[in-house]
């Protein structure tokens, strides 16, 4: 497999991408041959010549999931505004498990109520975090002139 250099002048004009399931499709109207499958015109897979590749030929930007947390001394790799939410979540779930495993109905009820309070707190903190993000990135970007007619 040979690595070749990109010869595309303006990929924004001739390339397109889309997602289907867990795959991304990258298609182009650029071609390197004379047939419908290889010539310029029809949307198709990139034509580089058999066995050729362009190293690091495309770049995707994406939202990723946080990595698995494995070491209790490491920092949690999400915005620290959400750390109290994680504490509320962990306390809520732990209290729920304790409530389920106790034989004392009164104690179970107290723990269950405390668990629900923690989970409500978690929901509130996550919602507030969402609002904060919107506050950072949202808002008016253009002013529409008044209609003076």
């Amino acid at each position: 497999m040979a690595a070749i250099s990109s010869t595309y002048k303006d990929p924004s004009d001739t390339f397109a991408w889309w997602i289907e399931g867990d795959k991304i499709a990258i298609a182009t109207i650029e071609g390197d041959g004379g047939t419908t499958e290889t010539g310029r015109g029809a949307l198709k897979a990139v034509q580089l010549g058999t066995g050729n590749t362009i190293s690091n030929g495309f770049l995707i930007s994406y939202y990723a999931e946080p990595d698995e947390y494995t070491d209790m001394t490491q920092e949690i790799e999400i915005d620290n505004a959400l750390h109290p939410a994680i504490i509320a979540f962990v306390k809520g779930k732990a209290l729920m498990d304790k409530a389920a495993s106790t034989n004392n109905p009164q104690l179970a009820q107290i723990k269950s109520a405390a668990s629900q309070a923690c989970m409500r707190d978690y929901d509130r903190l996550v919602r507030r975090f969402g609002a904060k993000r919107r506050d950072k990135t949202g808002g008016t970007r253009a002013v529409v002139p008044a209609d003076l007619r």
Binding site: F15, A45, G57, I60, Y62, Y69, N80, I86
Partner: protein, 101 residues
Amino acid sequence: MAAIEFNGKKIYSRVLQAVPGVSENYVKNLINEALVDLGQYNLKTEYAKADLAHNQLWYGLADDRAVTINKVFRCSVLNDAGEYIRIPRLSNQDIKITHTE
């Protein structure tokens, strides 16, 4: 690094106040459960590069790969000047059937 952050040990000590006797491993599992739940929000933006291969239309984004992708929001292709140029996304109704699919 943020000024105030909690690591697993600090969270564990907080949880022990409410639920004495739980193990550290149990708390670690719950932290991961919380991260899975929070993963549905757009918390972490990353990018990845891959090779463009001849006659290959589809490129895998499955979870068993090195990166865990929630949502791709931008795609760029390398041009002859070594720059990544953003390319348009086709929405579902605009996708054509191709010859080399």
